[in-house]
Amino acid sequence: MNRRHLPLLVTILVFVLVYALCAAQYPKMLSFRVVGNLLTDNAFLGIAAVGMTFVIISGGIDLSVGAVIAFTTVFLAVALDSWGLAPGLAFPLIVAIALLFGAGMGAVIHYLKTPPFIVTLAGMFLARGACFLLTTDSVPVTHPLYGTLTGFYFRLPGGGRLSLIALVMLGVVTLGILLLHYTRFGARVYALGGNAQAARMMGIRAGRTTILVYALSAGLSAIAGIVFSLYTSAGYSLAAVGVELDTIAAVVIGGTLLSGGQGFVLGTFAGVLIQGLIQTYITFDGTLSSWWTKIVVGLLLFAFILLHRILVYLSARRAAGIAAGGAAGVREQPA
């Protein structure tokens, strides 16, 4: 076990703990039905959060996530119903548009040396505004394929259902883990977030990596939008307001360092599920306002930020300790 994995471990522990507490009070929460719903209800959030994980590890931030999701739902509603586009065409098309959009933001961030916060804030307004160009109404999607897709699920024991969109999320999370931890691209993302200057001196092409990271985030947001569209069967320009903040929260609770350079997709997944669990608990309780989710998430965020600071402090002290005592490896040196 590596010390770097400690935040991940803590997140998973918190998830288990929260689930145990919930189940202690409402034993019915410990069922495949609840697990299935948890995955389905948070599918879009989970997919978008994977993209956000890459962005934050690279040292950036993407505020356009929610707006891209909303634009996707509106685009699909209009394209499928008004324009009569086939879903087989509309789905790849919107993902392609989003990829270009994200790549554009990445290019601006890199070449114009503009803070990601500002660039993606502009992207958020652009994408949200573009929704209104298509339609200002909430448009229901009536395409028959939607019924087929949402009706598709694997049956879990105890009446639970593993829906298609939950599967999509699990697939995205798996691919995200592979991409981040087992490809050269993933290492470049960590390198960029660790120290951009050093990364460049080690031969990393920062521009290409930045562009790919934001393209990935926007592309995944579009997929999250497709999932959201399937989930709600509607396109609405005011949908998914503030989702970017929920994803950031999930990423941070998942053990990713907001300043970049450290983090895990699996942690983000756990972060999403923790948020979903709290929501589920509130539903079970029935008397609590759903705003309690926000309060608990806020408290969790504080706790994790504190944890990070403590870990950074301990790590610095440990490095100093090694320096003081002489590194073990160095000591063993033959003269």
């Binding site: 290492a187 050093a198 040196q333």
Partner: protein
Amino acid sequence: MNSARQPALLDLRGIAKSFPGVHALSDVDFTLHKGEVHALLGENGAGKSTLIKVLTGIHRRDAGTMHLEGQPIDLHDPADAQRLGIGTVYQEVNLLPNLTVAENIYLGRQPTRLGFVDRRRMARDARALLAGYGLDIDVNAALGDFSVAVQQLVAIARAADLSARILILDEPTASLDAQEVATMFAMVRQLKAQGLGIVFVTHFLDQVYEIANRITVLRNGRLVGSHATADLPRLDLVRLMLGKELAEIESADHAHGPGRGGLCASFRDFGKRRYLAPFDLDIHEGEVIGIAGLLGSGRTETAKLIFGIERADRGEVLVDGASARLAAPRDAIALGFGFCPEDRKTEGIVGELSVRENIILALQARRGWIKPIPAAEQKRIAEEFVRRLDIRTTDIEKPIELLSGGNQQKALLARWLATNPRILILDEPTRGIDVGAHAEIIRLIRELCGRGMSLLVISSELDEITVYSDRVVVLADRRHVGELRAAEISPRSIMAAIAGTDAPVAQQERPA
């Protein structure tokens, strides 16, 4: 060293590089052979770093030729240098602390299988590579978890693995202790045995004599000599670096300051690990103590410890016989210390503020911000110092950045004089100012100590130090290596002390 018939590994001829207004390098030759450690030495502004940057493709040369194993080469960017087999390790570790050791070594060229990084193989390769240097560490741990020394070793291992022809080590040992340096040198010797050519830049002369086969000295952008280490005694090396002929050195005159007053402050066993070896120093009233040594020898470090900018981790300070606390510049100011830093642009003047405000700053800080100095009083103080130090300004309300370097320096001096310090530390007070102002500052130094103020003056100008010092503390390799008194003081004796020729050369102890 090497068979002379074979073309040199690297051969630079007539290299020149100018920046607007400066000839950073002119007509410099440099030859590096296989299996050689070649020390590149020189004081500030000698052109070492420019030459390194030409070598690593960061700067393009204006003139001259570069041959690598007999083939002409032309470097456009650092990637070119890397492709040709020229690797560099800098003083500041330029690796990624958040990645694992293995990832750092193989970043950009990780072994893959079916498009995915083969982490197991990468770890195995990294372990084998480091084991080759006798380094046994967990390659899957984050690099940042290790000491700077280990990080440097990993950086060297990466550079050597990546390039394997020429390795440039740009002050890699600056923050390592003796044992860590020994480990690094074992690695360097091994690479040397493998036939790499190694360029070694350092300020530590002991290290040069320990590991280098050859020494090239630059001064003011020119080549002043290239010798086999065995043929260049230390004193000659120091002479080459400082650029003094022994004949002219003898002639420099030394005039004594006034006699010493009582003991004012004394430092006992005062030092900081990895920063400066512990030293003892007594400061008497009305005394000028010169602090001499090569660049990086610990002169400024001494000043920063005494002024509390760096906190000493051992030893004690006695002021007027009583033990004093010295944990921050604030404490030092309260004890009546003043410090004019070397780099006045970044550490001294506040450019946008007026001459008056800059002069008043330290005095006001000592009084606390709650008790502002009345405007009339501020004006009086500022005008008095402008007159006394002959600061040339049309108006005391003029932003100080508009003044010439010499006048800025004098205003900075005025800032500390206004606090009426007992001990004033001047770090390179005459650097970058013209000759006239130079003489005036020296006159001021004499005058100040005449009035009972004690001065610690750091300077690279040996003639200058000889002229005004009652005592000279000599530093080398971050240690106080000698103290010269009155009649003993001459540029020659200072250089001898720096070179350590009157002390056993084999001394190996470094800041511990």
